[in-house]
Structure formats: C-alpha cells, structure tokens
C-alpha cells in the first residue's frame, strides 16, 4: 500500500496558500462539521487522545493528554493556545513549509484545537526570520476572517476565535515553551521555572497550551478522517500518524518528506522516494536524527532504525524535530561538534550558571582541538564539563541539548578526537590546523 501524503497533500499545487483553493479541496469542511454538527470540546479532545497524536515539536508528549492538563475551573481566566512556529532547531524546516505553502491547514487545526480548549484568543509565535511565512499567515488569517472562519460566531456556531501572528526576535530559546511565553509577553526570552506548568500558569498568567505547527496541522486531519484512521498510520500504537522528515546533508535529494511515523532511516536516506542515496557515492559517517540537540548515530546504529519517538529513544537519541542531518566520510567530526557547540554557545539565554558558562567553555575547548592546539586530557574534560551541565543543573533542557552532540561525538568517535590532538589536524576533510589558523 503506497502512502498518500496527508500534511503535504496540497504543497506544490498552484496557489496552495489561498483560501479558495483550500476550500475547493474540502478545506474548512472539518471545522464546519465539528462546529455545526454537534461537536463539543470534549469530543474533539477525546478524538485527539484516541488518535495517539504526540507533539511534533520535539518532546513527543501526547497532545490530548497535554490539553487535559488545563484546569476545569480556570477561575475566570481565559485559556490561551499558542502555536509554536519558532522553528529554530538546526536542520529543521518542516513547519516553515507547512506555513508558507498551506497556511489554512494550520489555521483550521488551530481553530479546532482552540474549540477543544474553549480558547477565545490564540497566537502564532513565528520565528522572526520567517518573514515570508509571517506574511502568508497574516494574509491567510485575513481571508479566514473574511470568510467567517475566524471572528465572532464562526459559521453560525456561536464559537468565537481570534488568531494573532507574533514574530519572534531571533532567539532559539524562544522555541522552548516557557521562553516563548515570556517572549510573547514582551519580556526577555528566557525559560521559566516549572512548576507551575503553562497549562496552569502560562501566558499572561492564564492557562496556556503550546503546540507545534505540525501538531496542529495533524488535528485538522484527525478531526476530518477520524482518530482510527490516524492511529493506523505509523509503526505502532505509540507512534502514530503521518510525519514530516527534514532530510539534509550529504544525500542526493535533501528535502521535507512525509511518511508514516516510524519510517526506516535507511529508507529515508537511500529510498527512491526519499534521499536517493549518498551524494557522490560517499559513505555515511554519522547521522543526527532529530536536530542539533539529538545524539548522533553511527552507520551501524542506523541499520534497523525506525524514525519515531520510541525507535530513536531505544538508540539513546531522539526524534526531536525529525531533522535528519547526514554527514559523510569526509566530515571531520570534531569540526561538526565544534560547529554545533558554537551554535549552542551563541543561543544560551544566559540565566543559569552551568549553561551560560558551560556552553562557551565547550566551544572554546573544541575550537582549540579543531585548531590543532588540543591536549589529550581535553577529551575527558569535554565529557566532564558536559556531565556537570545537565540533568537538573539548569532551569530548562537547553544544556541537555547542548551537550548531546559533544557527548555522542566523543562517545562514538573518540579515536578521531585522539587523532586530532596527536596530529594537530583533521583525520578527514580539508580543515587542517593550518587552514583554521590562517
């Protein structure tokens, strides 16, 4: 049975972002069915729970369960839904495609989710650099208001909803849900202490649910075709639904691919419908399966490696944002780790000591090794620094993310680090010490 794309079904079609083509393709039919066909907030939540949908932002938390954390009695406070469109994980570009190519799919899912949450106002917090995406969304929202899918008394159902697009100011950490909330409130983007969790005390002190773009898009289809249909897609009942994979790096055909949850890594890299193999016939050296914060995998580990939450957890990595970054045999692993450490050092918000001080330290030691000035004890030092940064040492899990590439690259490619220190140059690749110093 071949898989029919669900989330990307309309991507690539002419004027796919316009409301008339969306409606012609059956769009907003689900919203009409739910709002005017006797749907209740409880029925929507129940359907999403049954579908087994797990959050597509990275953590993989069951969406329906998350919605259930909103207190029954909100003590007069409104409930807010925030769409996390701050897609900043290196290697990830799926939400951008969804927003730019098919914004109404997101809006429909967001309105449905808002209905389930009894939410009057929701926000799309979009990464600041996604200027085009923000413009597309603003226009789509205007269209939706005009056609009566947003605003007061939507489709005569009595349900009212407003969506506002809020552009971020350029911080990776604002993709962390409490950092996003702070930023949306107009404050410096830095994560909050939890508890209280956002479902109880979120944006403006009100109960708040933060969902990823792809998650909300999935809601559109769960409500359209039913939880059972959704749950049948995927490797098992814990890893359900269609999934977007962002393939990048040394493959022949990088891009966003949709497949049932649990696609084999080898299929994604080498399959004719996907990556079509390694560029120039080079060999795989390492694969980062879930964005920069996921531990890298070796060629042995990507054999029988289903790309889903539990499949990658079993390999002590994670699906994360499903950003699969492929490195070939010409990649210097120290160089790669240094590059990632630089990113995390640049993006730490700076509030917690271990992360603020640890991320630049890791970067400095790595760049010293990369520049041919490393010492053998630096390798152990990197591991020790990493181990004293994470696991509760900080408010959020940024530090845990930052150490993943360092620890996994040392753990799996220690010999290459040793070679680098001994010979003052890369084992492979062109970045010799001399080149870096020059």
């Amino acid at each position: 049975m071949t898989f029919e794309p669900v989330l990307l079904a309309r991507v690539g079609r002419d004027r796919s972002q316009d409301i008339d083509t969306y409606v012609a393709d059956g769009g907003y039919g689900t919203l009409r069915k739910v709002l005017t066909g006797g749907g209740t907030p409880e029925s929507v939540t129940e359907e999403v729970k049954k579908s087994g949908l797990r959050g597509r932002g990275g953590a993989g938390f069951p969406t329906g369960v998350k919605w259930g954390f909103v207190p029954k009695d909100t003590k007069g406070k409104p409930v807010y839904l925030l769409c996390n469109a701050d897609e900043s994980e290196p290697g990830t570009f799926k939400d951008r495609l969804l927003m730019e190519a098919d914004p109404h799919q997101l809006l429909e899912g967001q309105i449905l989710s808002a209905f389930a949450l009894r939410c009057r106002t929701s926000y799309i917090y979009i990464r600041g650099e996604f200027f085009h995406g923000a413009r597309v969304l603003v226009r789509a929202i205007e269209e939706a208001y005009r056609e009566g899918y947003l605003g007061e008394n939507i489709l005569g159902s009595g349900f009212a909803h407003d969506i506002t697009v809020h552009r971020g100011a350029g911080a990776y950490i604002c993709g962390e849900e409490t950092g996003l909330i702070e930023s949306l409130e107009g404050k410096r983007g830095q994560p909050r202490i939890k508890p209280p969790f956002p479902a109880v005390f979120g944006v403006f002190g009100a109960p708040t649910i933060v969902n990823n773009v792809e998650t909300l898009c999935c809601v559109t289809h769960i409500m359209g075709r039913g939880a059972e249909w959704f749950a049948k897609i995927g490797r098992n009942e814990k890893n359900t639904g269609p999934k977007l994979y962002c393939l990048s790096g040394a493959v022949n055909r990088p891009g966003v691919y949709e497949a049932p949850m649990g696609l084999q890594m080898k299929e994604l890299l080498f399959g004719p419908d996907f990556g079509q193999g390694m560029k120039d016939g080079r060999k795989v050296k390492a694969v980062i399966p879930g964005g920069a914060s996921a531990a890298m995998l070796t060629p042995e580990e990507i054999e029988d490696c289903p790309l889903d939450f539990d499949g990658l957890a079993a390999k002590k990595s994670m699906l994360g944002s499903a950003a699969i970054i492929v490195m070939n045999e010409d990649t210097c692993i120290v160089d790669a780790a240094t590059n990632l450490a630089k990113f995390f050092s640049h993006e730490s918000c700076g509030q917690c000591t271990p992360c603020r001080e640890g991320t630049p330290w890791l970067y400095r030691v790595l760049s010293r090794i990369e520049a041919g000035e490393g010492r053998m004890e630096d390798i152990d030092l990197l591991e020790k620094i990493s181990n004293q940064m994470a696991n509760g040492m900080t408010i959020c899990v940024f530090a845990d993310a930052a150490i993943a590439p360092v620890l996994s690259s040392i753990g799996k490619f220690r010999d290459e680090y040793r070679y680098h220190v001994e010979n003052k140059r890369c084992l492979v690749g062109s970045r010799t010490a001399a080149a870096v110093i020059a």
């Binding site: 640049h346 700076g350 271990p354 001080e357 010293r368 940064m389 408010i395």
Partner: protein, 557 residues
C-alpha cells in the same frame, strides 16, 4: 555517600490546623513556619544552603543554581530556592550529588571571573569568595582566555554605583532590587549566553534614591560604591549598631569605622523599619561624621575668642544662668533642644529647665524633603532633617503654659536674657542671618556644637560636642519606635558627648549626678516620660531596638 533519611512523621489525621511544617533536613525533622523559602527554612535548622541569586525580599528566579539539593521522590537534583515548602518534604544537602553540583557551579562561576580579590572591594564580604572556600575545588580546569567586557568595566552607572561586569555572576539581584523594591527598573540584562551583562537601559543612569542598595545586594564586586571604593579592606572595619541620622525614619545602620574614622554606613536588618535597605542620602552622610571643626571649648570676650577647659566653660554658663535667674528670674532663660540630639540629651535639657523653673523650652522644627523607605510591609516617610524630632518632643521640650517658644524668639516677640542651644547645627535656619540675629539678641548665648555654623560663630560660649559615632543614646523615630545607637569610638579630649556636657551643666546648677551614664538617664526617662515606661534596657540591647539577635550587616547577605 548519602545520609540515611528518617521518614517524616505523618501528620496526625484530622489534626487541628497546624501552624508549622515538618521538613526533614539530612535526616533531622525540623518544624518551620509556612511561607518561607526552603533556603531560609534550612537556615532555621542550622543548615547552610549556599546561594547567590536568592534574596529574602526579592522574587525567586532560581538561576544561579548554587542551592541545588536532593528532594526525596524527585530523581533530578533541584534548586532549593524554587522548591515549595510542604509538609514532610525530605531534603538532602550532604550527598555526593549535591557536593558535586556545588563544586561544578563554583567552577563555572569562576572560569570567567577575574579572581582579582586583592584589588576588589568586595573581598571579605563576597559570596563568591565564601562559597568558593566552602564548596569549590582548589583548582580550575579552565585554560582558555577569560571573558572580557570592554567598555563595561569600572564604569560609573549612576551618581554612586560603579559597575565592573568582568566580576558579575549574572544573579540579577540588582535588577530585581530596582524593579521590585525601588520600582524604578533602571537595570536590565543585555545580550545573552556567555555575553550576558547587567547594564542600564539606554544609558539612563542608576539614580534612584536607594541606588547604592544595588551594590549591597550584589554578592560580588561587580557593583561597588564610588564613596567606599578603595578606602578600606572590609575586614579591618569595626561594625557598630547605630541609627541613621538622616531623617526621622531612623533606619538601622551598621556604622563601620576604623581608627576613629567613619568609613561607611550599611543597612542593618530591621524588617519593621528599613528592612535590608538604606537610602543614598542617609548612607552617604557617613563622611559628614568625620567633620570636626570645633574641638575645644571657647568663650568670646569682647572681640577676642579665648580657649577654655570644658569645666571652666560649663562654670561660665552656669554662673551666667545663675545671675540671670537672680536678676530677672528663670522666665528670662531659654532652652532649645534638637532633633539631632538623643532622647537622653533632650531630657537633660528639659530637666535643667524644670530644675530652674523655666517654662521657655522648645525644639527646632527642621523640615526636610520627604524621604521614603520600604520596610518589609510598607513604605515609611520621613520629613525632618533630624532623626529624633519625635523623641525631643516626647522628652517635654515644648513651651509650658505661659512660656515662650522658638517662634516667639525668631519673630522678635520675645528675647531671652540667656539662651542654651543644645546643638549648633540645629537647623538650616542656624545659618540664616535673621534667625541668628534674633537668637544673638539674647544677652548670653551658649551652644554645644561639632561644626562651625553662623550660630557657633557668634555664641558667647561654645562647647565641643561629640558626633553620632562618638556617643550612645536613643532616637525615637516617626513610628514612635525607640532605637538605640551605640558608640563606635570615644571622642578625643576635650570633646564630650552632648549628654555629658548637659550633665556637667546640670550638676553645676545643683541637679543630678555627674557619674550618671546614659542608662541612668534612660531609667529616669522610664519613670518620668509617658509612653517610655516599657522601653527597657533589654529591649534596647544590641542597638536593635526591641528586637534581639537581628544584628546582620547586609553587606554580606
């Protein structure tokens, strides 16, 4: 190696509402009041949880990560400051995991710190030093270039505070002080990650009325004050509990001195008055205590000014008083107390007037700009330039029926034959020619003073009086709270405390005992002054007025 924990005693079922919570620290159950932070609760149990960003009066941010502890039932290590207190909480502070996390944090905090303790004013009252000694490793494994903050080091960011970001540990206490206590919000975090720094918004200066408190709450040497910078190592300073002389709020201060020089005032914790804070105006009066212009007794004889020994000068005043009483009766005398004088001193002035049967006594009303101070629970306001206006009034320094007051003198309605002015610096009015002329109209003018004023320059007899640092006594503040200040050092002879001078005068006039101490005078006040019967020595002991054992210098909070 973890300490075995004693399981918490479960609360008895359906017990009447419990006033305290049982928290188990390292196996030891401790009863603590609800509503406090876990770090404070541990302190009550005699356990120190090291921290930087936590401050009892500022919001909890949990970001220095120094206070990590293990909480039973939670696998990951937890910040103590953000852990809500609840009945039966089991806390472990001595496990290997806790020790390692503290050592890790200390290492992280020090890798970019300049370690310039030898030239840093904070050394000696620095939490970074203390915690490094207590919880850090001896050596750092950091071998990279340290972070520099070019352009953000050794810079005045306001009229008093100097910022040096190379020393900053980004705890945000100063930011939170400005946001939450001062309410002015001058400071903020700029940039992020390892480049995060604290600075003022758009160069707007840190110029609120309490700006130096930002340096107080700074646990390291990142914020220091211009006034104290490079003047003394803090461990050289003697700390004397005292009361700020700046206004009638009467903020509790630690008077910090060495070799008979006052170096600084620091706020001294009193939750009901100034809490942990002190205003810049009061704080920087410290230097004024070192001013000494009148250091001997003098008498004017015609155009000449002659130096006398103090007993001579006292006798000269006493004989003048006696001759006025003989010629014109006691109603030709005038006694003027001051809000800058202690209760004891004002009381002695009044007793001399009583003894002589003089009804003309008063206190200078020396209004100042309104000053504000936040206690733990409320804002207090003071609007007198002296700390003891209420006390001076309480001591009975107001014209009695048929007597004359200062207004009568200054308006020219009445001129005394002899005026005894308790303090030369009694008011801004002392330097106004008109007022001085009116007072000078008295046939005889005696003044006790420390600094030269228009009044001291024209007085017939000037007595050399001690500064606040050189004497002890009590002030009564705007709330009616009697607060004791202690003597930091003795004045050099022949300078004496005002109360000693007044007591000498009293005994010369036939009342009192020259061996009395301020405590003896207070005993009389308790007997004679309404509302002062309960103010026992015990309550005043330690300078902390009615509250014992709270003497904490916030410099090392």
């Amino acid at each position: 190696m973890s300490t075995p924990a004693t399981p918490p005693t479960p609360p008895p079922p359906a017990a009447p509402e419990k006033k305290t919570l049982t928290i188990v620290f390292d196996g030891k159950p401790v009863e603590v009041p609800p509503g406090i932070n876990l770090i404070e609760a541990a302190k009550l149990a005699g356990i120190e949880i090291p921290h930087f960003c936590f401050h009892p009066r500022l919001s909890v941010v949990g970001q220095c990560r120094m206070c990590l502890v293990e909480i039973e039932g939670i696998p990951k290590i937890q910040a103590a400051c953000t852990t809500p207190l609840k009945e039966g909480l089991v806390v472990r502070t001595t496990t290997e995991k806790v020790r390692d996390s503290r050592a890790a944090n200390m290492e992280f905090l020090l890798i970019n710190h300049p370690l310039d303790c030898p030239i840093c004013d904070q050394a000696g009252e620095c939490k970074l030093q203390d915690n490094a000694f207590g919880y850090g490793e001896q050596r750092s494994r950091h071998d990279e270039r340290k972070r520099q903050y070019a352009g953000y080091d050794r810079t005045m960011i306001g009229p008093h505070v100097i910022a040096d970001m190379t020393r900053c540990i980004q705890c945000t206490r100063c930011i939170r002080f400005c946001d939450e206590i001062a309410g002015t919000g001058e400071l903020t975090f700029l940039d992020r990650g390892g480049r995060t720094l604290v600075w003022t918004h758009d160069g707007k200066p840190l110029a609120n009325d309490w700006s130096a408190c930002a340096a107080d709450v700074c646990p390291v040497g990142a914020l220091t004050t211009k006034e104290f910078r490079f003047r003394r190592r803090v461990w050289d300073l003697n700390k004397t509990p005292s009361v700020c002389p700046g206004c009638n709020i009467g903020c509790n201060i630690s008077l910090e001195t060495r070799d008979a020089i006052v170096y600084r005032f620091l706020p001294r914790l009193n939750p009901e008055v100034n809490d942990y804070w002190l205003c810049d105006y009061g704080r920087f009066l410290s230097e004024s205590l070192n001013v000494r212009e009148i250091s001997k007794a003098t008498a004017r004889e015609g155009a000449e000014v002659r130096t006398l020994i103090v007993p001579e000068a006292i006798e000269r005043i006493a004989s003048e008083i006696r001759s006025v009483v003989d010629s014109d009766g006691p109603s030709a005398l005038f006694f003027l107390g001051s809000a800058h004088l202690s209760n004891e001193e004002n009381f002695l002035l009044r007793k001399i007037a009583d003894h002589l049967g003089c009804d003309n006594r008063d206190v200078v009303v020396d209004r100042s700009r309104t000053r504000r101070m936040k206690s733990k629970t409320e804002w207090l306001e003071g609007d007198h330039a002296g700390a003891n206006y209420a006390g001076a009034r309480d001591m009975g320094l107001a014209p009695r029926a048929g007597g004359h007051g200062l207004d009568d003198v200054l308006s020219g309605r009445w001129t005394p034959r002899a005026a005894i002015i308790g303090d030369g610096a009694f008011a801004a009015a002392a330097d106004e020619a008109g007022s001085v002329d009116r007072l000078r109209g008295a046939g005889f003018l005696a003044v006790a003073a420390r600094t030269e004023t228009a009044l001291s320059r024209v007085a017939d007899v000037v007595l050399p009086a001690a500064s606040l640092a050189q004497k002890e006594g009590c002030f009564t503040n705007v709330q009616g709270r009697v607060q004791r200040f202690e003597r930091a050092f003795l004045p050099p002879p022949p300078i004496r405390a005002h109360w000693e001078l007044f007591l000498l005068l009293a005994t010369a006039l036939g009342w009192g005992d020259r061996n009395w101490t301020p405590a003896d005078i207070r005993a009389l006040i308790r007997e004679e002054v309404e509302g002062y019967g309960d103010v026992t020595e015990e309550e005043l002991a330690g300078g902390g007025l009615m509250r014992k054992g709270l003497f904490v210098s916030t410099g090392a909070l």
